[in-house]
């Protein structure tokens, strides 16, 4: 990967981070400690609630790259329980003027209500990553986490 291509990827992650902060100012977002994802989001007052964020170029949506990523993710995610937590996949353009899209992915059928099963690669559809939609998605992940705690 060239330096410029690497910088473009970094820029996309920073754009996604800013979208998430706009959607929910209570988030604490850090670089992901695992290679598979770009970011890890937590809540300041409830660190047990967390979710992963993977950022891909908008262009990946129309190529085989995204499907390849999702298949790979589906395989890897099933390996460890830590990845049972939902993932927000954000597709961003190379500039902030290009509209971003997102979806919530999960590895099993008991994920957040609107989440998509990561194995059903062909079924995955994206929503506009506007502040309201992202905010609702984050709220849904929080509710889901709380329900899991109640169940266990």
């Amino acid at each position: 990967m060239t330096k410029n291509a690497w910088m473009l990827e970094r820029k996309m992650v920073v754009i996604a981070k800013n979208l998430l902060y706009d959607a929910n100012p209570d988030l604490i977002i850090q670089e992901s400690p695992v290679e598979m994802y770009d970011l890890l989001a937590r809540f300041e007052h409830n660190p047990s609630i967390q979710f992963w964020i993977e950022v891909k170029s908008h262009k990946a949506n129309v190529t085989k790259n995204l499907k390849g990523y999702l298949k790979n993710a589906a395989f890897n995610i099933s390996l460890k329980d830590i990845f049972a937590q939902p993932i927000i996949l954000i597709l961003v353009g190379n500039t902030k003027d290009e509209p971003a899209e997102f979806c919530i992915l999960t590895k099993h059928h008991k994920g957040p209500k609107s989440s998509l099963i990561i194995k059903d690669v062909n079924e995955i559809k994206f929503k506009s990553a506007d502040i309201r939609s992202l905010s609702e998605a984050i709220d849904e992940i929080v509710r889901w986490h709380k329900e899991q705690t109640l169940v266990s």
Binding site: N4, L8, K11, V14, N18, Y21, I29, T95
Partner: protein
């Protein structure tokens, strides 16, 4: 509205500053910012100049963010204590305060020049980090390093590679 010392305000400001520093200008990124705030108190970003002819030159940045925005003279209302400014001014590397307008998502820069005699209560807004000013900032940092003896300094601990 979150308070000035709220860590959430700081995180959001840092993310906005990082985004602006990572502006692509004519198909090229001029800066490569690395967040070091959790490692070095007082410094938020180590920012390397990216084009290959820049010889890994860099500057340091401290980010101050505000929702309070501007005073009547259009200065950004941020604060930095004299103690902190003196600490920042001790750096031999070029060091800047980056003031972030959290609503308008604008970033303003100011070089921290030694000696520092008083605390900072506002930041002038005549140096917003627009693409044009980012280019000027890049030139300023290159010139800063050119005018120091750092690059031509004679080393006692000579390496075989360099001899």
């Amino acid at each position: 509205m979150p308070g000035r010392n709220n860590p959430k305000v700081g995180k959001k400001g840092e993310a906005i500053a990082e985004d602006i520093i990572l502006t692509e200008i004519n198909g090229e990124f001029l800066f490569d910012p690395a967040f070091v705030g959790s490692t070095f108190p007082g410094i938020d970003f180590y920012v390397q100049l990216t084009p290959s002819d820049s010889k890994s030159l860099f500057f340091l940045a401290q980010v101050k963010s505000t929702y309070s925005l501007y005073d009547t003279k259009n200065n950004l209302k941020i604060k930095c204590t004299l103690k902190k400014l003196k600490e920042l001014a001790k750096n031999p590397a070029p060091t800047y305060i980056l003031g972030v307008d959290l609503i308008g998502k604008k970033v303003y820069a100011r070089f921290i020049k030694s000696p520092v005699r008083k605390s900072l209560n506002f930041l002038p807004t005549n140096f917003e980090l627009t693409p044009k000013n980012l280019t000027l900032l890049h030139k300023e940092v290159v010139n800063y390093w050119k005018n120091t003896k750092t690059l031509t300094h004679k080393k006692k601990f000579k390496s075989i590679t360099y001899d």
